[in-house]
């Protein structure tokens, strides 16, 4: 599918613009660079979806984490300090703060989902609204600027790509080789079976949502490092792209099925589409409408896959 989409744009590229889409030393790295932030979020969202949950809050959580992280990453000598007297901290502190804030939001998502049993899209929808509000309030809507060089390094060059690949690898291993992964799939596949097998469903769900939140926080850190500033409007609607990437990559919204490798491909397909639209000079409006239909198509395809396989079983 990735190859198909890329080939389509390649052909259209030669037909319409008279140049190659893919074999462009500038374009390929940029596609990967751009999707790496969405990709980090999508790795977390994939795990949530495998438990047959959903997380609509990632974009807002990333923005909130970016604001908090950036406030601890300011260099001295800037004139708009968030914390007076706190400057030039080692880079680990803002990064940790960003991830912790993300984990906190994720934990809350997970705790409400697991312990009250409400459909997960509701608490995460609430978090979508609330975290964006916190992001704006945190510095009264003003951006946070003047970040340290070591923090900005995280967003420079191909560092985001390396972080994305690292995150994808770690969670690929966790999902396929550890008890954590086994439980995640089991819960999504048959929650009752997992419960009877003695898995602590609630605790595990909280863990998965917390990890997803932490990854959204990490994405916020990378995002602000790349922009060399944090701003409350960052990451708007990124959750949609992340969910789309996971679903395009074969993760089933019914739970129990999905792979990080698929999500990485899904993220790349999205990147190719976005970049390809710009490349083909298609107006922005069409991009947006097309993205809506792509999400719809991916989910409908998932629905039919699901129907077919579950029809053969029980």
């Amino acid at each position: 599918m990735l190859f198909g989409v890329a080939a389509l744009f390649e052909i259209l590229g030669w037909l319409l613009i008279g140049q190659s889409f893919l074999f462009n030393v500038k374009r390929l790295p940029i596609i990967i660079l751009q999707v790496s932030i969405i990709g980090i979020i999508a790795v977390g969202v994939t795990q949530v979806i495998i438990t047959s949950g959903i997380d609509l809050s990632s974009g807002s959580v990333a923005a909130m984490s970016a604001m908090v992280a950036a406030s601890f990453a300011q260099a001295s000598g800037g004139f708009l300090m968030y914390f007076d007297g706190i400057a030039d901290l080692p880079v680990i502190i803002p990064v940790a703060m960003g991830i912790i804030v993300g984990c906190g939001a994720g934990w809350l998502n997970g705790a409400i989902t697991a312990y009250t049993g409400v459909p997960p899209f509701i608490p995460t929808l609430g978090m979508l609204v609330a975290a964006r509000g916190v992001a704006v309030l945190y510095n009264d809507g003003r951006p946070i600027i003047g970040l340290t060089d070591s923090y900005k390094f995280l967003g420079s060059g191909i560092v985001p790509v390396i972080i994305f690949i690292g995150v994808a690898l770690i969670f690929h291993i966790l999902l396929t080789r550890t008890v954590y992964g086994r439980r995640t799939y089991a819960i999504g596949s048959n929650e009752e079976a997992a419960r009877i097998s003695g898995i602590n469903i609630n605790a595990h769900k909280v863990l998965v949502y917390t990890i997803a939140g932490g990854l959204a926080g990490l994405a916020g850190v990378v995002m602000s490092a790349r922009a060399t500033m944090a701003q409350s409007g960052m990451g708007f609607m990124y959750e949609l792209d992340a969910i789309a990437a996971a679903v395009i990559g074969g993760t089933s919204l019914f739970g129990g099925r999905g792979r990080i490798s698929g999500t990485v491909i899904g993220v790349l397909i999205l990147g190719v589409i976005t970049s390809g639209f710009t490349f083909l000079r298609v107006d922005f409006y069409y991009q947006e409408i097309a993205k809506g239909f792509i999400i719809l198509a991916a989910v409908i395809a998932d629905q039919y896959r699901h129907k077919r396989t579950s029809g053969g079983g029980a």
């Binding site: 509701i122 609330a130 409006y285």
Partner: protein, 333 residues
């Protein structure tokens, strides 16, 4: 099926007492805070009450549509976006001829019924599309409508390339003037209440929400009914769009951004269960009023608008969690 219907009619009369008390409670809190911090009354101000209702009439009309969808165990996240495009379409056909920048210079000074029908038609069409996708492909409604959220917003940006549409024929101003929005809101509420409680339409909506399988077995054409409910909700978004456009005297592509959240919040605060099968228009109206009081109260107390978002997020979750516990305790008993 017979059992289900019996259960439904045997259920004690709708009680919105609990939620009504919450409404009173919220009002009292703001009243006290009002005297403490502003030295004046919050509630006993006829003008303010009128305004609260006026401001919430548009969200209220949306929420009535969303209520029916949620009763059917669905959800609709696309309301705000549909309002955006429907408002633009209506506005583009309601322009006066002395406007040099008319969207359709050939179609100006049209009778007001044309823009109204066009706006309603577009909204209803998109609503129907939601229902059709959900009914035919059976994908989760929140995904289908999330996609519509993106698509309809894209459509509204495409329609006039983001350009504002203003200068309407005088008749078009009627829908947003004075207390008209409130009357329309009340009319829509009463009609929908009757539809839900007295007609087969309502009976089927509740039946599908409480047990879709059973409804199917009982011979209800579930797919067609879903399309109908989503299309009706779309129609209501269209009405909201026309009032909004008329009231703002302008339409633009960003209109209605995130309004679906307010509508869903009002519905769940009003006691409609996300599990489906349970819910009332009366509850939704009270939910809308609570939301209105909170928004108005925050402005009244001079608290920043961004706090409202945080509070709204918390309220949505709290209302749903409360519903969950009601649901559970009912099951256990």
């Amino acid at each position: 099926m017979m059992d289900m219907i019996k259960n439904m009619t045997a259920r004690p009369l709708p009680k919105d007492t609990g939620i009504f008390l919450v409404l009173i409670g919220v009002a009292i809190i703001f009243e006290i805070l009002g005297w403490l911090t502003q030295g004046q009354t919050f509630i006993f101000n006829a003008q303010r009450l009128f305004i609260i209702i006026l401001q919430m009439a548009i969200i209220g009309i949306m929420a009535i549509g969303v209520t029916q969808i949620i009763i059917m165990a669905g959800i609709d996240l696309s309301g705000g976006s549909i309002i955006g495009i429907a408002g633009l379409v209506a506005a583009s056909l309601a322009q006066t001829s002395d406007n040099v920048n008319a969207v359709y210079p050939a179609f100006t000074d049209l009778p007001v019924i044309i823009p109204v029908l066009a706006g309603l038609g577009v909204a209803m069409g998109l609503g129907w599309f939601n229902g059709a996708v959900i009914a035919i492909t059976r994908i989760p409604p929140f995904i289908a409508t999330l996609a519509m959220l993106v698509i309809a917003r894209g459509l509204s940006r495409w329609y006039t390339s983001g350009k504002q549409v203003s200068f309407f024929v005088d008749d078009f101003g009627f829908f947003g003037s004075g207390a008209t929005p409130i009357w329309i809101f009340l009319g829509v509420a009463v009609l929908s209440h009757i539809l839900l409680t007295r007609t087969t339409y309502g009976r089927r909506t509740y039946a599908i929400g409480s047990n879709e399988q059973a409804a199917r077995m009982a011979g209800i054409n579930v797919g067609r009914h879903k399309m109908l409910v989503y299309a009706l909700a779309g129609l209501l978004y269209g009405i909201a769009a026309i009032i909004q456009t008329s009231r703002a005297e302008t339409a633009q592509s960003g209109t209605g951004l995130m309004w679906e959240l307010d509508a869903i919040a009002a519905v769940v605060i009003g006691g409609t269960s996300l599990m489906g099968g349970v819910g009332r228009i009366t509850g939704t109206i009270i939910g809308v009023l609570i939301l209105g009081i909170i928004t108005s109260g925050f402005t009244f107390l001079g608290i920043g608008v961004y706090f409202i978002n945080i509070v709204k997020g918390i309220i949505i979750v709290a209302a749903v969690v409360a519903d969950q516990y009601r649901h559970r305790s009912k099951r256990k008993a």
